[in-house]
């Protein structure tokens, strides 16, 4: 368990999955936010992950994962005829983002599984480290 790098790697995974969970929460919370223009509609956000390789003396030291950017979905918003809505435009339409709840929930499940995996890696690494500290004590 040299120099705690494993914690950095698993920690970066936890952080990245956390961003993903945040975007899912944001997408689900805003799935019925209405707007009076198609441009002003909430756009679903998705994180893009990237592996960052580290190297010391030509030896690879592990690749952490980082969120490279958070992209916005390019899907056109849905329009709904709702003249009574105070946000309706001149023709009586309001616009809602095209967010698939099923898609978001599967993304959430996938993110939480990966999150747990990384936590488990850290837990195991910690246990092994503690055992190593006790080396030679019987």
């Amino acid at each position: 368990m040299s120099s705690f790098r494993i914690f950095d790697i698993a920690g970066s995974g936890v952080a990245a999955q956390n961003v993903r969970l945040n975007t899912v929460a944001s997408n689900l919370a805003n799935s019925s936010s209405v707007s009076s223009t198609p441009e002003g509609t909430y756009k679903a956000r998705f994180p893009v992950f990237e592996a960052v390789r580290g190297e010391i003396n030509g030896q690879e030291t592990g690749a952490a994962v980082v969120v490279k950017e958070v992209i916005e979905s390019g899907r056109a918003p849905n329009s709904r005829y709702e003249p009574s809505n105070p946000l309706a435009d001149a023709n009586g339409f309001v616009y809602t983002p095209d967010i698939s709840t099923v898609e978001q929930i599967t993304d959430m499940v996938s993110a939480s599984r990966s999150y747990q995996n990384n936590i488990e890696v850290m837990r195991t690494a910690r246990d092994l480290m503690m055992a190593t500290f006790r080396l030679g004590q019987g």
Binding site: R5, I9, A10, A51, N118, L135
Partner: protein
């Protein structure tokens, strides 16, 4: 005389390599959702052979410093298992690559991680009992 380096060589090197391997697998798991990431691993046996020098299990003196004068300081016989071990990682051959080019098989990595942890524990146990044996010899009890 008992050479401590030799005495601990195999398990010390195995312990270090297990730690490095757990890092490689942690890396794979952290990047389980990264597009185009290729799962990596290394050949444990080859790496261990490498770490212990050409003699396989560290019993050869091929890599030792030679002393030609009485005042020369001889190196530890065999190669030092704790020196930098060059690790060549290879990409795993995926059974079912994902559409985004990622080749991490999470359940496989989990299994490998668990296996590797047990090996680490085993090396620790061996080292511990070796040390206990030495302590018994030293204290004579």
């Amino acid at each position: 005389m008992l050479d401590l380096d030799k005495h601990f060589a195999v398990h010390a090197a195995a312990l270090r390599l297990s730690a490095q391997r757990s890092e490689v697998i942690a890396r794979n798991l952290a990047n389980a959702d990264t597009p185009n990431y290729k799962a990596a691993d290394f050949d444990f046996r080859k790496a261990l052979d490498n770490a212990l020098g050409s003699g396989g299990l560290g019993m050869s003196d091929a890599g030792a410093l030679r002393t030609t004068q009485r005042l020369h300081i001889g190196g530890a016989s065999g190669s030092d298992p704790l020196s930098g071990i060059p690790l060549t990682t290879v990409n795993r051959i995926p059974l079912a690559p994902a559409l985004d080019g990622n080749t991490v098989d999470v359940s496989l990595e989990q299994a490998e991680f668990a296996k590797n942890s047990i090996r680490y524990q085993a090396s620790l146990n061996f080292l511990n009992s070796q040390m206990r044996g030495l302590m018994t010899a030293i204290t004579g009890q």
